[in-house]
């Protein structure tokens, strides 16, 4: 009787251990598949990018091979950037302009420079160094439009206030300072054509909202990748331009640009 009971327990333990083993194997295989697909994404994206944008009919000069000359390539990129800016200048809304060779970021309206700031650090995805020159030239030669921006500071720091009942209550309504100037600022701007710009201020203070924003935006990217995987597609991969600048400049720029702003980039 006892041995039968012991045998049942033993077999249950074996079953339980086997289940754990199978579960671990299945989870590991899924994780490996996700990892492989996610690491394959930049290659696939680069390949697609080179096919879609390396269209020689989009260029204004005779031979695309000329772009292999570094000096000529730089000149043509500068020319395309200025053309982009002129195109955006026809608009009445404030636009963002990122000039990476000059390490500057500025906001403009109707071609008038409103604010400019020096970029203290620039780091780009490897994608830009491995992409075809012609494709990159075509990609950056027209302005981008922002799709979405995420930040740990408010776009409009609205303070809600109920009308006071009398003069005594009104006297208590003192001036409240905008506290967003005290924390480290993180701004993630997602553009059309799959480009992301991440702007951070150059102080080394870590705050909970800063960490939370980085964490949630990383998680969001991963979620979108997973969504693609479960739809049997190669996960999306957005190349990123990361820049650091003065905190006050970053706040001014972020609050100045509208939700659907034009962005010109000199790569």
């Amino acid at each position: 009787m006892v041995s039968k009971f012991e045998n049942t327990i033993q077999s249950n333990i074996v079953k339980y251990r086997n289940a754990i083993k199978y579960f671990t194997v299945v989870v590991t295989v899924i994780l490996l598949m996700i990892a492989v697909l996610m690491l394959y994404a930049p290659f696939s994206n680069l390949q697609k990018f080179n096919i879609v944008y390396a269209d020689s009919s989009l260029i204004s000069f005779d031979k695309e091979e000329l772009l292999n000359d570094e000096k000529f390539y730089e000149l043509k990129k500068h020319e395309a950037y200025l053309k982009s800016k002129l195109l955006v200048a026809k608009n009445d809304s404030i636009s963002l302009s990122v000039n990476l060779p000059d390490s500057t970021i500025s906001i403009e309206v109707q071609g008038v420079l409103l604010h400019q700031s020096k970029l203290t650090s620039i780091s780009n995805s490897m994608f830009f160094e491995r992409a075809n020159h012609l494709a990159l030239f075509n990609y950056f030669q027209s302005p981008f439009k922002t799709k979405k921006s995420i930040s740990n500071i408010e776009k409009e720091p609205v303070i809600y206030m109920k009308a006071p009942k009398d003069t005594i209550e009104a006297a208590k309504n003192l001036f409240k300072a905008d506290t967003s100037l005290a924390k480290r600022v993180y701004v993630r701007v997602e553009l059309e054509r799959g480009l992301t710009i991440i702007l951070t201020d150059n102080q080394n203070k870590w705050s909970s909202s800063y960490l939370y924003t980085i964490f949630s935006s990383g998680l969001l990217s991963f979620k979108l990748s997973l969504k693609d995987i479960f739809h049997f597609q190669v996960p999306r991969y957005n190349p990123v331009i990361r820049v650091k600048l003065n905190r006050n400049d970053l706040i001014s720029i972020y609050r100045a640009i509208p939700d659907k702003a034009y962005v010109t980039i000199h790569m």
Partner: protein, 252 residues
Amino acid sequence: MDIVFKINKYSSLFKSILFVSVKNIKNFILKLAQTSAFKKLPLLVFVLITPFLFIFLLLLIQDKILYIIPPVKLNYQAEMETLLEKQKQKAVSQIIYLQQRLNAKTPGSSYLIINSSTNEFKLFSGLKEIRRGICSTGSYVQLESDNQKWLFKTPKGVLRVQGKTENPVWIKPDWAFIEEGLPVPPKGHYSRYEYGTLGDYALSLGNGYLIHGTLYKRFLGMPVTHGCVRMNDEDLEKIYKSLTIGSKVYIY
């Protein structure tokens, strides 16, 4: 706005959790050590942390994995040299032409640029900066009474000077009384007229927005106004004399 609200909501939650955790961490560990679950704690931590580490490691590697591809080779062809030189010259002249066209977009006459985030202004004449200083712009206070609400923000974008007044008189709107907890007088009532509050000059930007002086100079450089732009007396005089009707005022 939703995203920012969420971030603030969760960040304060995160903060409070962190605070509570740090405060009670000793008791928590002591209690936990007495339970059998404590033995499985490393495993639990591993199971909880690993997915996040996995995600961030993947995202990090994903951005750098293209290192393994060799960089694009520049196969420069010597026979193209003449064509290349011509094209380079063409590109340089095109850059100069485009830059000139861009510079021409800047008004030749005086114009004002106001930064409502830092409450600073710059007065320009063409590409030359004439004066810079501090000002006060909208406080972003949303005042709510029983049946109305007002948002005190300075409008952004390109505005024009629509009128200029010396010794302006402030005709107090309803919100000025509501904000002070006073009863709202009828239109045209003498208590609505205030002399000297707006300084010596005022420049109208339309829709009731003005650039004017202030009695509260200690608040300059802070966002405290109801949407107007306040300046100190010297800056206001310079701006009043430099800008004409139709001059552009850029606010961001």
